[in-house]
Symmetry: C2
């Protein structure tokens, strides 16, 4: 009966989709210019939402598993959430979806699952690769933004779709887990800029120019493990826009080594120009200073790179503050220890940007491989 | 020098806009399909952001004026904010804009100002039309969501643009006022559905079918005063999605009088069909029950209508909750007393939806007329 009901629901949704495009109140947009029906495949060797071109909206939800959950219960939870994600991402109603119409506009919805150490151990696998990060000198971590057992990363070009998927998943998860933290983030909306444009953060900087592209050959070796999994670092970086605003443009560009106008290195003119770290100015100093972010972020070892895919956050100010902004830093890499930690260690030691940025939350998750139809995300851990 | 700097800034922004469209990393979208450069005129007889087709994102900010501000100081504040709004909405840097690149993608940005009683009286005008609403039996108002002296309503199809405009305006306002409350809201993203599609709220309902259209003749008489002003009611309506989810589809449709699939009255098949309030079912009861929302919302007096333009809100859940959702109800009307109050009174007395909805915040603002270049929003009040 449950399955029959869901199938009938899907028929209604399909009809609704067609109707909304032909509505008499709708102006002349051609249906093929609308992006609400665009879907990202759910099943595959890797989970979607990582190599996927970033959507405009993302919410990261960290869940704490309830006490005394056994291996079988965790498996039931993962089957349930996998089924929800597989349906919702395709614009279909989840089983027992009480607001199916809200899910009829997927707009590239992806749902990506990450596992914390406790969940991995419950499954019977080793959590060696996803231990909490070493303490960095710059960290001012608040427990309320740290860690978690199960991460849900929900992203879409439509915020109403994210809200609906979030509620559906949490409804199914609540018997098994409670919410530890939720971090909603955003980038420019779909179609407001050309896709592929590097994002800007709330300091106004072009942020993420040097990033392996999912389209290039080195991406696989940097990000994916042979079994299709990866590891994720998520850090909440508070940005003090008030003190940043006291710095003039050249001071800002000096601290990063890139221009604000288009993100070009201060030794070049285009965003993707190679920085010239040897170039000197009339006084004999290097144009890109020793403490500049792009100099400190760079490693001589090309295998020490990470793949970044973060979002801006902007919470509502309280009291006399006028903003509470920052970056949800997210990176994916095969090895946290070999790729992320050396980079973060270097930046913690010296990076001009540290003056205005403070890490206030940190977590590491295993991102298990994708699954095939009939399977569930995380199944390979249980087989081990 | 300040103006010269701003002009130079604008040149840089214009160059940036062209560059971002011709970037080598950008795929094949034609520039004319991108919506980031679309602007809504700022100057005019009415403020923008009301008759404007609703943008995907809106933030409502209520400011409390500092003690002892005099008439001249309020005027300075309004001149400053008007100047910011006039520039930002056109994709130009505000004066002293420290992150000008973030404003280069207006995406239909509008900034609309509303005045609370204290500001109107400070200007030397009568605040008779914008007194707080009478207490309705359904109200459970929390002071932290009520009232305010100056409302900033910032809306755009791009959330990063809203964030930048919000910060710029609050930077200029903070010497004069502090933040009382901020309510961010959203609808479907631009282009995910055909524009003109009636919004859905987080109950999944088509919400706002019966609404005067800015394109029809009756709009002017319902909304605009002869001087170009209007009044705004903004109410925060908490929606208890958990208990709503316990009701089956026919129960939900019964309580509203419309279908969930497409918002058609339960006596019709298309969204904009006229409801048949006399139609009866096999048992002799009216198909649209006596307590149904659409029956209660309807007045026999066509001049008692309001123009609605609200947004969904979805705050992050805390503790054992899994959602904190609702509607930022916003209506515009010539007369709050003659148009809004009778309607709300009827709904407070009887409306099946009251079972799942609770007003937790309420405010009324005067929306002054628009202004011409060189003027400022609110100037007519000071002339009085």
């Amino acid at each position: 009966m449950l399955f029959g009901g869901a199938a009938a629901g899907l028929g209604a949704i399909a009809a609704l989709g067609i109707e909304s495009l032909t509505s008499t109140t709708a102006p002349a947009e051609a249906a093929d210019q609308l992006h609400g029906n665009t879907v990202i495949p759910f099943y595959g060797p890797h989970q979607a939402g990582i190599a996927t071109e970033p959507q405009a909206h993302a919410t990261y939800i960290s869940l704490a598993l309830r006490e005394n959950l056994d291996r079988a219960a965790v498996q039931r939870l993962l089957r349930l959430l996998t089924d929800d994600a597989a349906r919702l991402t395709q614009g279909q109603a989840a089983l027992a979806d009480t607001e199916p119409e809200l899910g009829a506009v997927p707009a590239r919805l992806t749902v990506t699952f990450g596992f914390g150490p406790k969940l991995v151990e419950l499954a019977g696998s080793s959590a060696a690769g996803i231990q909490p990060l070493p303490k960095f000198s710059i960290d001012r971590l608040q427990e309320r933004w740290n860690d978690g057992d199960l991460l849900l990363h929900i992203a879409s070009d439509d915020q109403l779709t994210v809200a609906h998927a979030q509620r559906m998943l949490l409804k199914d998860a609540r018997r098994f887990a409670s919410v530890k933290w939720v971090q909603p983030g955003f980038r420019r909306s779909r179609g407001s800029e050309a896709s592929g444009t590097t994002m800007r953060n709330l300091f106004g900087q072009v942020d993420g120019t040097v990033n392996p592209s999912p389209q290039t050959a080195d991406f696989n070796a940097l990000v994916w493990n042979p079994d299709g999994s990866t590891t994720m670092v998520i850090r909440r970086i508070q940005m003090d826009v008030d003190t940043w605003d006291e710095v003039d443009r050249s001071g800002r560009e000096f601290s990063v080594g890139r221009t604000l106008a288009n993100g070009a290195p201060t030794t070049g003119s285009q965003e993707h120009d190679e920085p010239d770290f040897e170039a000197t100015n009339a006084l004999g100093f290097t144009v890109i200073p020793a403490h500049a972010h792009i100099r400190r972020a760079r490693s001589e070892n090309p295998s020490e790179r990470i793949f970044r895919r973060g979002y801006n956050y902007d919470e509502q100010p309280t009291g006399t503050d006028i903003s509470d902004s920052g970056l949800i830093f997210v990176s994916y890499q095969q090895s946290v220890a070999k790729q992320f930690v050396p980079l973060q260690q270097r930046l913690a030691e010296l990076d001009a940007l540290n003056q205005w940025t403070t890490p206030i939350g940190s977590a590491v998750f295993l991102i298990p491989p994708g699954c095939a139809e009939g399977g569930f995300v995380g199944e390979t851990l249980f087989k081990a």
